[in-house]
Structures are given as structure tokens and as C-alpha cells.
Symmetry: C2
Subunit: 372 residues, 2 copies
């Protein structure tokens, strides 16, 4: 796996019972996954020679992030190393312009959008629809709210163009909530769909995920699952695909983003599903039969643990375990910095209010925003 | 953790979400746990200098097996390294003579037993009770049926004395089945009890575990749990304690063996309990609050996967995953040798017959004794 973040850490954890020999390419020996994996190569994934050397002896290559240059992936494939998801699929998670064009081509509903040249073109885009605000995104390199701007005028639209990366303009969707449809697909086309979840963001960062999405119309849930399965098939995705969705006031779902790797909106599955997203990602990437994605409890809630003002979470960690012996804590081994994702908690049960309260309390206590 | 077997492998797996930095002392770099742990020291646990060097920088030492010499553990403690379970507790899992003496002292029911000097003394022991057969055990070094003999006469009793290790004679208990009571205790005395399970042995090796033990009288289950909690407390155990029990025809439970580490009879908890034995062992050893040991499903069944005649299990592995998407496979990364424990499978659900059939089928198919 290329990339030593928490997704690689949790993928390794899921691979242990499957008997998988996991090899990691990590930026540093201190990265989240590098702390727990036996076979670690420290190197730069942007360097093709490093990638080639790393890939030697691997049966298959997969990723913790979308940042490996597409041409490097093609070079690995040319060397005979299976790359899953492959570059032709992965480009849709790397480049938002390519993603939008493809989704339109295969008839998947998206927000109104087009590539814009400059601030004046942003104003023109606004005038073509309902006016400002307009959402601007660099087509490459953004995540967790980075590389995304919401602008109210052409004057505010200068910033996104400074990086010299093409900029995509999108209508600001009037949504009731955000959903995510997570699916996993294997090389020979077996696919499974997790229940559609509700994803709540705070300042552009995922905060809470509720599985399944409360009160979601059954027909709409089915449509979202079918849409995600269809995207996975049409784009030739292998492994986990997260389709982030807007649920609009008029009862439609529009695709916001795609991610082709285990995803924050699927972390609930570690304790809440029969087979976690990480286990199914490993199974798909190795072309093993997929596991059952169904939930084990009526409700599962995931809340991210962000770093707060106190670098030492130890006493909070003790408190949370003692307060709730059913709490599932997942720490990433990262230094605490304000706002940084350093872990998540899962809770599950039959009473959604209770399950939500327990997860929120634990995450807030760990961050230091709740002191009882 | 000292020892690189599958128990260390699964303990590391359970420690990852807890944010634990796991350091391993392994006999070889190929050992089951050494394949998946970042921080591995290869060395001999019987060598005190190796142990001391390994322990440097550890917050606490625990074990994958009972074979570290008691005097070495005392030396580590004298160096200021917490050893959990400590040597005063662990000796009861290392030496069956010490264990029996202590259990009698604290009033725990055991089979009739005493240390015997030679075959003639075995005959005398038999005559003191109901005669032959008699069970003979070397007080140290046995496991999985090794170091245990069932003899029908004094003539058959020569073998156990050849090793020069003291020999314990025990009555052959007329039991209806074997049970196991698993508990976990932390340094400041918090303790949790898993439901009592039924353990079925084949040729002295654990084959099947059913959680909870089917049809077990509630009062007897409670008595077994209390007995295990009492032993953990009286012996000062820290971490996981497995109490292997005989359920007799006349409705008593007698202690067969003790193990002070995660135990085969607790593997079901990885998929069947809110908190697995491995997670709770880590929590106890680090003096963290313990997690809820209750089951997540009405029935969970574990069946060990033993090596069969075919060294390559890959096609069987694919078959089992495809046949049962709810199956939980746990492979240990070991070379397949006939009769060797190379993994286990867990199944769970509401229908015990179905849960048993699925686990047995998978384990039998992986071993090659079932070919559909």
C-alpha cells in the first residue's frame, strides 16, 4: 500500500486475520501505519524509481491516498504490477474535471458545473444559473475542505486561480444533508454495497457518520446504492469506492465527490458491519470473494476525534473507556495538533439518541471540548 | 510481548486501534506475529540478557506463552520493569504442581491428584481411588496434549518419568463435557467475565468452542464465572486468565488447567463479543479500564483450522469466503503442517445448528477433510 496514513494502518489491521503480508511505502518511519507494519519502505511516492523498487515482489499495489501521479501508475502497470484501482479508474478520484465529465457521460446526476478560466468567467458561470454563491475547486490536490472556496462575487474568486491548476465551478447545492454510498468491487466484477450513511461535516471536515442514514426513503437509498454500484462498474473501480452525495430539498441525490480507497464515511463499518470496508478493500484488491457488508446493529455512529488544545489525551482516553465499556476507540498514533484527525470512535446499539450521545461525548471529551 | 506466535499476532491486531506501540521478542523473523509487527527483536527468551535488552524502553512486559523462566521474570521486575502477569501469578500456569496446591488451598474443586515418584507410586495413587486409568502430567512444559498420558497400568507409566521432571497424577474425571471460564483482571483489580463456553477437544487439541455453552445451567455458569474471578484475584493474575473446566456427570465443575494469556477458548470473542479477549488483555496489562465482555450474537462458534495433507490452502480459502460471506477467517501466516494450528474460523448467529455447521464446514474444507 502506498501511503502511511491511518487508512493504511486500518487496512493492515484488517489484513492480519486474512493472512496478508502487507508492505508499506511511507513518507517517514513515524507515519501512522509505519508504526504498526512489519515491512515498511520509507520513500517518496512521487519518485518513480522509489515506486518501482517498492513494487518489486508485491502481488498488487493499492493506495492510502490519491496523490500518486497517474503516469507513474501506468509505468508500474507496464512493468507488470497490478495496480488496483488502476490509473484509468483512479484519475476520476484525482481530477474533479475528469470526474464530472465522466459522470455526465454515464448519466449520473451532478451539480451544475464547468471549468472556469478566471474570475470574470466565474461571474459568467454564476449568471448562467441562479447567481452567486458559487463553489470553486481546484481540479487536483484538494481534500478535507482544502482546495475548495465558496465565493459571493467575482472579486472573491481570485484566490483559486493562483495555484495555476484548472478550476472547476459548481452551483452551491441547496441540500438537506450529505450522504455517502460506499461500495466495493473486485477485479472480476463482484460488488457489494454498504447501507447509505448520513455524513455531517463541520468546517468542511467529516465530523459524524450515522449508519444507516436516519429516515432515508427506501427508494432513494436503493437509488443511491445502485448509482454507486453503477459508477464503480462504469469507471472500472477495483476496491472501495466512496460516493459522497448531496440530498436535495426536492428529493434528489447529486454526486459531490468520489474517493477510491477506504473512506472516513466507512469507518463505522469496523465495528458496525459484518465485514469492514478495510477488510473488503483488501479482499477486492487481492481478488478474493467479498464479505457481507450488512450492519450488525440497528444503528452505528462514528465521530472523528480531532486534536484539541491539549497534546496529551491520555487521561481523557482513560475516562472515556471507564465511562463507556462498549465504546470502540480507534487511535491513529498521531501527534495531537489542533483540528487534526487523530482517531475516531464508534458506538452502536438500538437507540439512536443514546448511540449518538455516547459517540459525541467520547469524541468531545478526547478533544477537550467536553469536560463533563 | 514475549513470544511470536498467533496469540501475539492477534494481540497486536487488537492493540492497533488502541494506539498501542507493540514490541515483540520473537524466536525468528518468520514467526506468526513477527510478520505483522513493526518493532521486532529476534532472540531467545530463555536468555536473561536478551530479555533485559528487549525490555529496555517497554512500559510493561506480557507473554504469548508460559515458558519464560520464573527467575528471569523476577530479574526483570528487580530491574523495575512491570511484568504482567507477574511471576508469582504466572508460576501457577507454568507448574501444575504449584497450581494444584494453590487451588486446594483456596478451596477450588480439582480432580483428585498428587505428585508421584515412580510407576509403583502411580499404582499406589490408583489404589487410593477408583483404580486405573490414571492421568499423568509432567508439571512443566506440556501443552496441546503434549506432556500428558492416560495410563491403564503401572507398566504403562514409565514414559512420563523419563524427562526427569516431577510428575503429577490425577484421577481420570468422568466428565460430560469440557468448559472454559475466561476472565480478565487489571492491576488495580477491575475484572470482567466472558460467558462460560463449551470446548470440544479432538486428540487433546481444542477443536470447537461454542459461546455460550449450550444448555448450561445458569447457576452452574455463574458458579464457574465466580470461580474464575476468584482464582484471578487470589493468584493476583493481571491480564487474561483461562480456566479450563470439567463438567462432571454429577453436576460439578472441576478445574483442569489454567492459562494466563489470551487462550484458544477465547478466540470466539474476536467476532462474537463486544470486546475481544485480546483487546481486554492489552487493556488489563496496560492498566486501562476494561471493555464489555458480553456477546454480540446469541451464538458464536470457533473451530480451529489444522493443517492437512495439502500445504497450499489458497483455493480452499477462496471457496470458503465465496460460500459464506459472513464467515470470519483468522489465518496465522504459518506454513501448513499436518495437525498444526494454522488459523481458526468464527461464525455467529441466532441458529446454533447453522452456526456450527458453517464453522465446521469451513474449517474442514480448509483442512481438506471436507471436499463438498
Amino acid at each position: 500500500m502506498v501511503g502511511g496514513g491511518q487508512l493504511a494502518r486500518m487496512t493492515h489491521e484488517a489484513g492480519i486475520p486474512l493472512g496478508i503480508r502487507f508492505k508499506l511505502l511511507s513518507d517517514t518511519p513515524q507515519d501512522s501505519a509505519a508504526q504498526v507494519v512489519s515491512d515498511v519502505v520509507v520513500g517518496d511516492y512521487r519518485d518513480l524509481d522509489t515506486l518501482r523498487e517498492f513494487a518489486r515482489g508485491c502481488d498488487v499495489i493499492t493506495f492510502d491516498h490519491e496523490h500518486v501521479p497517474t503516469e507513474h501508475l501506468r509505468a508500474l502497470e507496464a512493468d507488470g504490477i497490478p495496480v488496483r484501482p488502476g490509473p484509468d479508474a483512479l484519475v476520476h478520484a484525482q481530477d474533479k474535471g475528469v470526474m464530472r465529465a465522466k459522470l455526465m457521460e454515464i448519466g449520473v446526476p451532478c451539480p451544475r458545473h464547468r471549468i472556469v478560466r478566471d474570475p470574470a468567467d466565474v461571474a459568467a458561470f454564476a449568471a448562467e444559473g441562479d447567481g452567486f454563491p458559487v463553489v470553486l475547486k481546484t481540479v487536483r490536490g484538494g481534500y478535507d475542505g482544502k482546495g475548495v472556496w465558496v465565493v459571493d462575487s467575482a472579486e472573491e474568486a481570485a484566490e483559486p486561480f493562483r495555484a495555476g491548476v484548472p478550476v472547476l465551478a459548481e452551483e452551491k447545492v441547496d441540500f438537506v444533508r450529505e450522504l455517502a454510498a460506499n461500495v466495493v468491487r473486485s477485479p472480476h466484477g463482484q460488488a457489494v454495497a454498504y447501507p447509505v450513511v448520513e455524513s455531517r461535516q463541520v468546517n468542511g471536515v467529516c465530523d459524524t457518520v450515522i449508519a444507516p442514514a436516519p429516515g432515508l426513503d427506501e427508494e432513494l437509498a436503493l437509488r443511491a446504492e445502485e448509482m454507486a454500484l453503477g459508477i464503480a462498474k462504469e469507471l472500472g473501480v477495483v476496491g472501495h469506492l466512496a460516493v459522497e452525495l448531496f440530498q436535495t430539498r426536492d428529493g434528489r441525490v447529486l454526486v459531490n465527490e468520489l474517493a477510491m480507497r477506504p473512506h472516513n464515511s466507512g469507518h463505522w463499518s469496523m465495528d458496525g458491519a459484518i465485514t469492514s470496508q478495510f477488510a473488503n478493500h483488501v479482499r477486492a484488491v487481492l481478488d478474493l470473494p467479498l464479505g457481507d457488508p450488512r450492519p450488525r446493529a440497528p444503528w452505528t455512529v462514528m465521530v472523528n476525534v480531532l486534536g484539541g488544545d491539549y497534546p496529551d489525551m491520555y487521561s481523557a482516553y482513560l475516562h472515556c473507556m471507564a465511562r463507556d465499556p462498549q465504546l470502540k476507540i480507534h487511535m491513529y498514533g498521531k501527534d495531537v495538533k489542533p483540528g487534526r484527525k487523530v482517531g475516531h470512535v464508534n458506538t452502536y446499539g438500538a437507540d439512536l439518541d443514546d448511540v449518538l450521545e455516547r459517540a459525541r461525548h467520547a469524541a468531545g471529551y478526547l478533544r477537550g471540548t467536553i469536560t463533563e
